[in-house]
């Protein structure tokens, strides 16, 4: 299966295409009249795309039975982190030029910035603990920690939704995909959740159930 083995580096390079496109646009002076806004929107968009892509790995794998897919989850997640770092760096350096007072005020006062910043901060521990060593060391808690990616996804979509003026079509599209991906998990977990709920309810109830 050497054919499949080549797929991983190919995917890696494909994930760099947006960055290449951005650099090419910069080189050819094609970043619109407002380059800082352009870069901010571009990197934000790709953060959301990679987040949703990484969240779609598990459902796709379970539905298709193609277990190889799991090998791409970490890569997609780390590319989401890569683009969010560029996104935040653009905001901090290009947009506000290290004006930390303005940034702190923005994060505290502007709900859309608060949401975006929350998502960004939550992604940091996930990126740090993405190594094989960390996965081994954290054991079961690794999975619990990485469930925060659901919060990150919600924060990211809300960040976008709260920022647009009137045309909510794009953020709603992202929201719809996210709802689908999270909804799948909810349906999947439902039996287990029910079971746990029944167990933890009153002993009488539990006994009645067992009888």
């Amino acid at each position: 299966m050497s054919y499949w083995r080549a797929l991983k580096p190919v995917t890696f390079i494909a994930c760099l295409i947006p960055l290449g496109q951005l650099l090419y646009n910069a080189w050819t002076d094609n970043l619109s009249a407002n380059p800082i806004e352009f870069i901010t929107h571009f990197t934000g968009d790709w953060t959301l795309i990679f987040l949703l892509a990484s969240l779609s790995v598990t459902p796709l794998r379970q539905i298709s039975g193609w277990n190889e897919l799991i090998k791409y989850r970490r890569m997609l997640g780390l590319f989401a982190f890569f683009y969010v770092v560029l996104h935040f760096a653009t905001y901090m350096v290009l947009d506000h030029f290290f004006d930390f007072q303005a940034i702190v005020k923005d994060v505290m006062k502007r709900p859309y910035v608060t949401a975006g910043f929350t998502g960004f901060v939550l992604m940091i521990p996930l990126a740090i603990t993405s190594t094989a060593g960390m996965i081994r060391r954290l054991g079961k808690r690794w999975q619990q920690l990485h469930r925060f990616v659901y919060v990150v996804g919600i924060a990211g979509v809300i960040h976008f939704y709260w920022l647009v003026k009137a045309d909510i079509r794009r953020p709603v599209q992202y929201g719809a995909v996210l709802a689908l991906l999270l909804g799948y998990r909810l349906v999947k977990w439902m039996p287990a959740l029910w079971g746990r709920l029944a167990q933890s309810s009153s002993p009488i109830g539990a006994r009645q159930l067992s009888e």
């Binding site: 646009n25 094609n30 619109s32 009249a33 502007r110 009137a166």
Partner: protein, 320 residues
């Protein structure tokens, strides 16, 4: 997509660099094109009387104005490729791309309501009611970016005087063309179409308030609101309603599109005010297109000396 890829812009839509870099050369080239087109169609006389107005066609006898700002002007390319004109698409680069749909001849503007001289003007007559002036104004968008734009137009007050408002006329209500074929963005109910705006009578009569029909000495491009649009330089850009077809004099404060869409965010007055933030972002600073560092936003966009009197005694936090 939020971001347009460069491939989406047809090569024919992009002004060659040499042309926009060299104004003189550009104007020469554009007027040569217009001249040949006009000659073929029906000969040429003053401004562009009977020939269809073509964006890029030179406007004649444009006077300078002492109201003009002396700051560095934004390039023709920036002004015509970074637009908020949702009727031609909600991305900044959409209006330039979709400009081709907005034909501006024939075009009439109905002046009506509380006036003695109600009249439906043909656009080519309307632009002759007063001498055209160049007005270089700062334009501050509510999204916290700004430009310096050399408009060509005439004071709105010239039209108001011709219309002879009755004593009941307290406000003016402006309406944009409603035609999804020519304004394809109207196919989506992003806002409640048609776009409507309004001014109080004293704001409308203020000498800074103009109806613009041109840009950089040429016929206004469609993406900037051709054939005729409002420019009120001390207010946020969205007050400058584009592609106007109706100017109605009314007694009560008229509804305005962004106020209908989000009343807590956009008021009727919408004067540029660094102290009153948009609920979702700060209005204290702005990015001048073409500059790296943010600038401090000026009260009334720097036109306070001329217009602050209009709002004396008003709580500008309440009447945002």
């Amino acid at each position: 997509m939020l971001i347009k890829k460069s491939e989406d812009i047809k090569p024919s839509k992009i002004t060659p660099r040499e042309l926009y870099m060299n104004r003189r050369q550009f104007i020469l080239a554009a007027s040569a094109t217009a001249l040949s087109a006009a000659t073929v169609l029906n000969g040429i006389d003053s401004p562009f009387s009977s020939s269809p107005a073509i964006a890029g066609q030179k406007l004649n006898n444009v006077r300078k104005s002492s109201f003009s700002a002396t700051e560095k002007q934004n390039s023709f390319k920036d002004i015509t490729n970074y637009n908020n004109f949702y009727e031609l698409g909600t991305d900044k680069t959409d209006p330039a791309e979709n400009a081709k749909y907005l034909t501006t001849r024939p075009w009439t503007v109905s002046v009506e309501g509380e006036v003695k001289k109600a009249k439906t003007y043909d656009i080519d007559d309307l632009i002759k009611i007063a001498p055209l002036e160049e007005r270089i104004y700062r334009m501050r968008c509510v999204e916290a970016w700004s430009m310096v734009i050399p408009w060509v137009g005439f004071p709105l007050s010239s039209l108001v005087k011709l219309a002879e408002p009755t004593g009941n006329a307290k406000f003016i209500h402006f309406v944009t063309l409603q035609d999804p074929k020519r304004l394809p963005g109207q196919k989506y109910a992003v806002l409640d179409w048609p776009y409507v705006e309004g001014l109080r009578m004293d704001e409308a009569m203020h000498p800074l308030t103009i109806l613009s029909v041109g840009l950089y000495g040429e016929v206004l491009p469609a993406q900037n609101g051709a054939p005729i649009r409002l420019v009120v330089p001390w207010k946020y850009g969205f007050k400058g309603i584009k592609s106007i077809v109706r100017i109605r004099f009314v007694e009560k404060q008229p509804p305005t599109s962004w106020n209908i869409s989000a009343p807590q965010e956009y008021g009727f007055y919408s004067n540029v005010n660094p102290e009153v933030d948009h609920p979702r972002w700060s209005q204290a600073t702005e990015r001048r297109i073409g500059e790296f560092f943010r600038r401090k936003t000026l009260m009334f966009n720097g036109y306070g000396e001329q217009v602050a009197d209009l709002y004396r005694g008003m709580d500008l936090k309440k009447y945002y």
